[in-house]
């Protein structure tokens, strides 16, 4: 049912409707209302369990325990909290567990800053979690049931990444997926192995050099192959709801005949689409490309989609001492699959710096030259 609702509350209700067994949250500063809303739901009997843990490290650790026991498990965090989870993120993925988290993306300290950018999730790109970035609160609510479905079917945890404030605190119309709809879509979580006193197994054994790399390669391969699982989960949801976001990995906007493309992730793509419309109205052949799946990175598919075009990769995250992460990966993919593209790197929107429609227009104007650019906006 469509209603006017704050993003955080809409996401909390969606999580409730996914029928989680265990929710564990620590409401660090910066925080969103998702944890509070879930506790409100718990306090009124809407979910069975809520662990008010004493840190984010304990939140993710509780999810590790719950997921290993066969429980559908959820947490939510931001910036510093995600960074505090770092060690356990690798552990959850390495143990092939299935928790889901909503990460309200925010800047990392120092300087302290509570506003949006993508440095927190992007810095965890090697942790073994899938990362799905969302443009709108509707997309976020649609991604949550998909995240549970993917995580629980392939035993790889999933982060649903939403822009702090721009989405979490925005009040807008959202069709919050209800229990009946999600029940039709999301099967019961039944992991192949779990902690069960009737059937004892050992989880989390340590591996010698003779075995360790094989475990890592299994996870590496399964993560790369998860593109098909993401697309399938997205398509099945689209069939039920009529809502789809490109192919589930990325979404082109007026892309096909575009010569100049703005590529980015998250809520900035709303302004990007508006900028494209304004420039198209003046006859300019521009388009936008929203990356939804940052992990796995759909390099080959993206390279095909941008073949022959000039692309501005706009990122709200940096790699200190190197080039920006998506730019680097897209450049590598283009070199491998479709070298006839010109890719420029733009960094902006860090710590909540405004990225207006005009900024997007400027970026698209800048890439019309022959040489690729690397700029901060």
């Amino acid at each position: 049912m469509k209603k006017t609702i704050e993003g955080s509350e809409a996401m909390a209700e969606t999580v409730q409707n996914c029928n989680p067994d265990v929710v564990a949250c620590f409401p660090i500063t910066p925080s969103t209302h998702i944890a509070e809303d879930l506790d409100h739901i718990y306090s009124n009997g809407g979910i069975r369990d809520f662990i008010p843990v004493e840190s984010e490290l304990s939140a993710i650790s509780a999810l590790i325990g719950a997921s290993a026991t066969g429980g559908r498990s959820f947490s939510t965090t931001s910036s510093q909290g995600l960074a505090l989870m770092h060690e356990a993120l690798f552990n959850a993925a390495g143990m092939r567990l299935s928790p889901v988290m909503v990460v309200a993306n925010r800047a990392l300290s120092a300087p302290l800053n509570i506003w949006n950018d993508h440095q927190d999730s992007v810095s965890e790109r090697d942790s073994g979690w899938l990362q799905l970035f969302c443009e709108t609160n509707q997309e976020a609510c649609d991604a949550i049931p998909q995240a549970f479905k993917i995580a629980e079917s392939i035993a790889i945890p999933v982060m649903v990444c939403v822009d702090g404030f721009y989405l979490t605190h925005a009040v807008e119309q959202v069709d919050v997926p209800d229990k009946e709809l999600i029940a039709k879509y999301l099967p019961k979580f039944s992991p192949k192995v779990k902690l069960d006193s009737q059937n004892p197994i050992t989880m989390g054994a340590y591996a010698f050099p003779s075995d360790y790399q094989d475990f890592r390669k299994d996870l590496f391969d399964d993560l790369n192959n998860s593109k098909a699982d993401i697309m399938r989960a997205h398509d099945e949801w689209a069939k039920l709801t009529g809502r789809k976001y490109g192919n589930g990995l990325f979404e082109g906007y007026r892309l096909e005949d575009a010569e100049f493309v703005f590529l980015g992730m998250g809520s900035v793509m709303g302004n990007a689409k508006e900028a494209v419309d304004r420039m198209r109205a003046k006859g300019e052949k521009v388009g936008a490309l929203k990356l939804r799946s940052f992990r796995p990175f759909p390099g080959e598919e993206l390279a095909k989609a941008i073949a022959g075009k000039k692309v501005a990769v706009f990122e709200k995250a940096i790699s200190l001492g190197g080039d920006a992460p998506i730019y680097t990966e897209l450049t590598t993919a283009a070199l491998e699959f479709h070298p006839n593209v010109v890719i420029s790197s733009f960094i902006g929107g860090l710590g909540g710096k405004d990225v207006t429609v005009e900024v997007v227009v400027q970026v698209l104007q800048k890439i019309k030259g022959q040489e690729p650019l690397k700029e901060w906006v």
Binding site: D21, V22, A24, R48, D49, I51, P52, V53, E54, S55, L57, S58, A59, S61, A62, L63, I64, G65, A66, S67, A68, T69, G70, G71, S73, E87, A88, N91, M95, L195, D196, S197, N199, P200, I201, T202, M203, G204, A205, Y206, A207, F208, D211
Partner: protein, 284 residues
């Protein structure tokens, strides 16, 4: 005969007190259990892929997060309708007193339905005998060495049992591997109580202490007989019992067994004796 649930073939050192203690603990707890183990000696000796010494469900995640993993296991069980399986943490003193201290306090404060067993062998043994906040005063470790300027650990031992009990959890108790019936009695008692339960289990480490392996169990008895280690019980934050060893033996009998204390002067030993004597005021 009670079935062994922590079985032979593990890689613990000769005379390892913790291996013996796990047999004692698991025999008391039985099969309807999920063991949550912190990184450390216990994990390293018992679960090298593809082997395992555990005949019960077992999970090892990280070093510092075992109380929170156990909270998650316990909450998942109860949330899915299982109200009988016990969740038992097994963690060393490093994981408990030091790196997992915050997570432990959180789990105790929430009164999650978990039995937390800390095996205390008074240092980080697995990684090469480094001092922890459980290492006793003056003991030599590889990070509290005996040199010309500093002689062993300058600080005393953190009172973890009292700290755990101060959370007003329903049950907190200490015991020693040298007293298997006491270990079993306290585990059984803990199992009959809901909520957070904390058992501090003194366990010997011949490798880390410079102790004759044949005297491993003797040391875990002597520390009780000298009164250095109290086998106590706390319920809801109040001490409800303490094992009285009778006429206490001199602390020197325990100290002289171990090379980690070989640099102690007669004055040091007298100071330890004085502190132990004072600690029994009102209890005997």
């Amino acid at each position: 005969m009670v079935e062994e649930l922590f079985v032979s073939g593990h890689r613990a050192c000769a005379g390892c007190g913790i291996a013996t203690s796990f047999r004692e603990v698991m025999k008391a707890v039985g099969k309807d259990v999920i063991v949550v183990n912190a990184t450390g000696c216990s994990e390293i000796v018992s679960s090298p892929y593809p082997q395992s010494a555990w005949k019960v469900p077992y999970i090892h995640s990280l070093f510092e997060n075992v109380p929170a993993v156990a909270s998650g296991v316990s909450h998942a069980l109860r949330s899915m309708g299982n109200d009988h399986t016990q969740v038992v943490c097994i963690a060393g003193d490093g994981a408990t007193y030091d790196i997992g201290f915050g997570a432990l306090s959180g789990m105790l404060e929430r009164n999650d339905d978990v039995i937390y067993v800390c095996y205390d062998n008074e240092a980080y043994m697995n990684t090469g005998i480094q001092r922890s906040s459980a290492t006793p005063w003056k003991a030599a470790t590889t990070t509290s060495q005996v040199g010309s300027a500093v002689k062993g650990k300058p600080q005393g031992k953190k009172p973890i049992l009292e700290i755990a009990a101060a959370h007003k959890i329903p049950y907190a108790a200490s015991t020693s591997v040298g007293y298997p019936f006491d270990v079993a009695k306290k585990l059984k008692k803990a199992m009959g109580i809901k909520g957070a339960r904390f058992i501090l289990l003194f366990a010997s480490c011949p490798t880390g202490w410079g102790l004759d392996t044949a005297k491993s169990i003797q040391a875990t008895k002597l520390i009780v007989e000298t009164g250095i280690w109290k086998m106590a019980e706390y319920e809801n934050g109040k001490m409800t019992g303490v094992f009285k060893p009778g006429k206490r033996k001199p602390v020197e009998e325990y100290i002289k067994l171990q090379s980690r204390f070989k640099h102690l002067t007669p004055e040091d030993i007298a100071a330890i004796q004085k502190e132990v004597d004072a600690s029994w005021t009102g209890l005997e």
